[in-house]
Symmetry: C2
C-alpha cells in the first residue's frame, strides 16, 4: 500500500472538485492515508482544499489537518470558523491541536477553545499552550493511559478499554501512586503475558527514563534516541506525571534541527518556511549577505594599502581569489567536523588537545599538498619565482590558520550558547577571506623587503 502522487491523479481530483463529484472524491481519497491526502492538498489551491475537506468524513478530515504542513494549514484554516476547527479537534491529539492553535492569532485560539465541548480536552489544550514550543512541555500530549500501583492487570485493561478511543497508540501504561506521582511503566507485552489478578505493583518497571517539562526539545530527543524509548513520560518538578512525548514528535525535532544547522551553514536566519513571502525570505538572507559585504569592503580597504604593490606587480592580484577560496573551503571543512563532534553529547571530551592536534596534522598534509601543486603549476606556466614562492607560502599559511579558526570558532560559539553550525557559514568564510588577504600581503611584504 504505497501511494505516489502523480500529476494525472491530481488532475482527476481537481476535475472532480470542479464538477462537485462528491462520490468520486470520497471513494478515491477514502482509500488513502491522511498523510497522503495532506500531500494532495499541498498541491491544490485553498478553495479546492476547503471543498475537499468538507466532502470527507470529519474524522479523516481531522487527521488530514493534523498531517498538513504548517504554512498550508494556516492559510486553509482561515476559511474555517472557530467552531468548525473546534469540531475537528475532537479527533486530534492535544499536542497536535496545540501546534495548530499556535499557528493561529491569539483571539482565534481563545475562540476555538471556547467551542470545544469536552471540558477535559479544553483544559488540556489550555495547559499545553503555556509551554514554549521547544521544551518537553511543548512536545508532550496529555493522551496516555495511567494505572494506579495497586490496581490489578484486569483493572488496568479496563482503563485501556475506557481510554482506547482517546489514546490511539498506548506503547506503555504509566504507573502512578495516589498523588499522581510517576513510579514506572508496564509494557503491554508484560500485561498480555501476566495473570489477570496480578497486581501492577508486581510487574511494573520502576527504573525508567522520564523528562521534566522544562527540558529542551533537543535534550529530549537525545534521551529518547540514546535509550530507544518510543514514548517518554513528562513530569513536573515534583515528579507528578503530566504527559508523554511520542517518538514521531522527536523525529520531527531531529529533522528540524538538521534543517536549522543546514540553514545556519548556508547563512539563512530563522526557520523560514518554503511558503513564506518574498520579503520575509529576503530579510532572512540579508544579514549574512551584509556580513559578507562588510568583509568584502574591509578587504577592499585593506588591499587599498597595497595599491602601489598591485600597480607594480598586478600578478599579486591574480591569486587573490585562490587564497580567499582556499581559506574559506578549509575553514568550513574544519568547522563542520567540530560541529558534528559537539553534537555528540555522549562524550565528555568532544573537544580536546588531541583532536586539535589531529586537525593540525590534517591541515599540514593538505596545506603541503595544495601549496606544492600550486607552486609546480606556477613554475610550469613560467610565473615569476617571487610570486610563485609568495603564493605558495601564503596558501600554506592560510590553510593552517583557516583550519585553526574553523576548529576554534564553533567551540567558542557553543560555549556562549549559540548554534555552533553558525561557524560553518558566511561568518567563518568572511573571517577567512580577510585572514587570507592579510597573510598573503604580509608574506609578500616580508619577502619583498628581505
Amino acid at each position: 500500500m504505497q501511494f505516489e502522487l502523480t500529476q494525472e491523479y491530481l488532475d482527476q481530483i481537481k476535475e472532480a472538485i470542479a464538477s462537485k463529484n462528491v462520490d468520486y472524491i470520497n471513494q478515491t481519497l477514502g482509500e488513502l492515508h491522511s498523510a497522503d491526502i495532506a500531500a494532495v492538498i499541498g498541491e491544490l489551491d485553498i478553495e479546492e482544499s476547503e471543498y475537499l475537506l468538507n466532502c470527507l468524513d470529519r474524522e479523516l478530515g481531522a487527521e488530514i489537518i493534523r498531517d498538513l504542513e504548517g504554512e498550508i494549514r494556516k492559510k486553509l484554516l482561515k476559511n474555517f470558523s472557530p467552531d468548525e476547527i473546534a469540531w475537528y479537534f475532537k479527533h486530534i491529539d492535544s499536542d497536535d491541536a496545540v501546534d495548530i492553535l499556535n499557528e493561529q492569532p491569539i483571539p482565534v485560539r481563545e475562540e476555538v477553545i471556547a467551542f470545544i465541548k469536552n471540558q477535559e480536552k479544553a483544559d488540556h489544550i489550555r495547559e499545553l499552550l503555556h509551554y514554549e514550543e521547544d521544551v518537553a512541555g511543548g512536545l508532550m500530549q496529555k493522551e496516555l493511559v495511567k494505572a494506579n500501583l495497586n490496581w490489578t492487570v484486569t483493572q488496568c485493561i479496563e482503563e485501556i478499554r475506557r481510554q482506547s478511543k482517546k489514546v490511539e497508540k498506548v506503547f506503555y501504561v504509566y504507573v502512578v501512586d495516589d498523588h499522581e506521582k510517576l513510579l514506572g511503566i508496564v509494557s503491554l507485552k508484560k500485561m498480555l503475558l501476566a495473570d489477570e489478578d496480578t497486581l501492577i505493583a508486581d510487574i511494573y518497571e520502576p527504573d525508567i527514563h522520564y523528562v521534566e517539562s522544562y527540558r529542551e526539545a533537543e535534550e529530549v530527543a537525545q534521551i529518547m534516541e540514546k535509550y530507544d524509548i518510543e514514548a517518554i513520560p513528562v513530569v513536573n518538578v515534583h515528579g507528578k506525571l503530566l504527559g508523554r512525548i511520542t517518538i514521531d514528535d522527536v523525529v520531527d525535532v531531529i529533522k528540524e534541527e538538521a534543517k536549522l544547522d543546514m540553514q545556519a551553514m548556508a547563512g539563512i536566519s530563522e526557520s523560514t518556511e518554503e511558503d513564506a513571502n518574498v520579503w520575509r525570505m529576503s530579510w532572512a538572507r540579508l544579514p549574512w549577505l551584509l556580513i559578507g559585504m562588510s568583509g568584502g569592503i574591509l578587504g577592499a580597504r585593506f588591499l587599498g594599502l597595497f595599491e602601489s604593490t598591485i600597480s607594480l606587480v598586478p600578478a599579486m592580484a591574480f591569486f587573490i581569489p585562490l587564497i580567499t577560496a582556499t581559506g574559506g573551503n578549509v575553514g568550513i571543512q574544519s568547522s563542520s567536523v567540530v560541529v558534528q563532534a559537539l553534537a555528540n553529547k555522549n562524550s565528555i571530551n568532544n573537544f580536546n588537545l588531541q583532536k586539535l592536534f589531529k586537525g593540525f596534522l590534517i591541515a599540514l598534509i593538505n596545506g603541503i599538498a595544495i601549496s606544492s601543486i600550486v607552486f609546480l603549476f606556477n613554475m610550469l606556466i613560467g610565473e615569476k619565482n617571487e610570486i610563485a614562492i609568495i603564493v605558495s607560502i601564503a596558501l600554506f599559511s592560510v590553510v593552517m590558520l583557516a583550519s585553526l579558526m574553523g576548529t576554534i570558532t564553533p567551540v567558542i560559539l557553543d560555549k556562549f550558547g549559540f548554534n555552533p553550525a553558525l561557524a560553518s557559514g558566511p561568518f567563518i568564510t568572511t573571517a577567512n577571506d580577510l585572514l587570507g588577504l592579510g597573510v598573503y600581503f604580509l608574506v609578500a611584504h616580508l619577502l619583498f623587503n628581505s
Copy 2:
C-alpha cells in the same frame, strides 16, 4: 534516572579498573543503562574497556557492545576471540549482530557465525549479511512475532510468550497466511481488549504499510516518518514476510543523512568517522580543496588577461574579494533552500517556475540592497565614480547569476542521481567565484570601452 558522565566518575572507574576492584565496577556500572556504559567505554583505552566488559554480566556486556560507536567497537572486538563474540551475540538482535559483523574482516565474520550455537540465529545472520547496508534488508531484524490468520487471540498470546525472550519489543504482531505471506497486523492493544477466543482474522488490520527488502533506507525512513510507524514489516517480491525495521534504526538513518548532507556542504567526501586516521581524513577533504584550487588557478589565468587594466586601475583589484564572496554566499543560500525542497518527496512540484520566479525576486531585492549599500559606501569614501558604478553593477549581476546557479545546480545533480547537497559546497562556491570575476571584468570592459 538521568546519567551524566563526569570526569570524577570516570576517574573512579579507571581507578577501580587499575586496582581490579570487580565488586565496585559491578555495583557502580550495574545501575546504569548499557548506552551510558558504552559512553564510559568511549573514554577508556582498549585494555581498560576489555577488563571492564569481562567484569560485567554477559547480557549487559552484549547490550553495551550493541550500543558502542562503530569505530570503538571495531578496535575493542579485536581483543575478543570469535567464540567470545558469538557468545555475546546470544543477547544481540540479528540486525545489530550483522552491523557488528560488517565492521569485521570477512574471515572473522565466518568464524563468529560458525561459533553461534543457535542454528536459527546463525541462519538469520547469514541471510541478513547478504543485503547492502543501505537498503531495507540491511536495516531489518529477523526478531518479530507473527501469527497465522486462523489463530485465536489465545494462540497468539502463547506465541508472544514463546518468543518473549527473543523479541524484546513487540509493537505489533504480523499476520501471515499458511505460506508466510504478509496479510496485516494486530496491535497489542487490540489483542489485550479482545476476547480470548476471537480469531486473528476478525481483528487484524489488513491495510498496512510495508516495504520490499530492496527499498532504499532513505525511502524506508520517509515512509515510517510519514505514516508514523514504529515497526514496518519487510517482504520479498512475492509478499513473503522477511523481517521488520524498528523506528530506532530509522532515526539513525535520518541522522546519518543529515550528517552526510552537512559533509557534502562542507566539502568532505564519504562518511569519515571521527576516529579515522589522519591520512584518511586528509584524503576525504583533499578532492574538494583541489576543486577550489583549480577554480582559483583558472581565476588567476582569467585575471591575467586583464593585467594592464589592473596595473592601470589597481582599485579594480580591491573589490575582487567582495565580488567573489557575495557570489559564494548567495549561491549557497539559494542552493540550500532548493536542497531542502528536493528532500520533501511528498510534493510533485518540488521545483517549478513559480519557485524559480520567487528565487528571482528574492535575489532582486537582495541584489538591489547590497549593490546600493556598496555604491553609497564607495561614494562616501570618495572612490572614483567609474569604479563605484562598475562594482555595484557587477555585484548586482553576480547576485542574480549566483542565485540562478544555486537554484539550478541541485536540481540537475538530483536529476542525475547525485546528492543535491553537493551543490551547496565548494563546487558552487568555486563556480560562483569564476562567474563573479567574469561578470566583474566584463562589466568593466563594457563600461570602460563605452
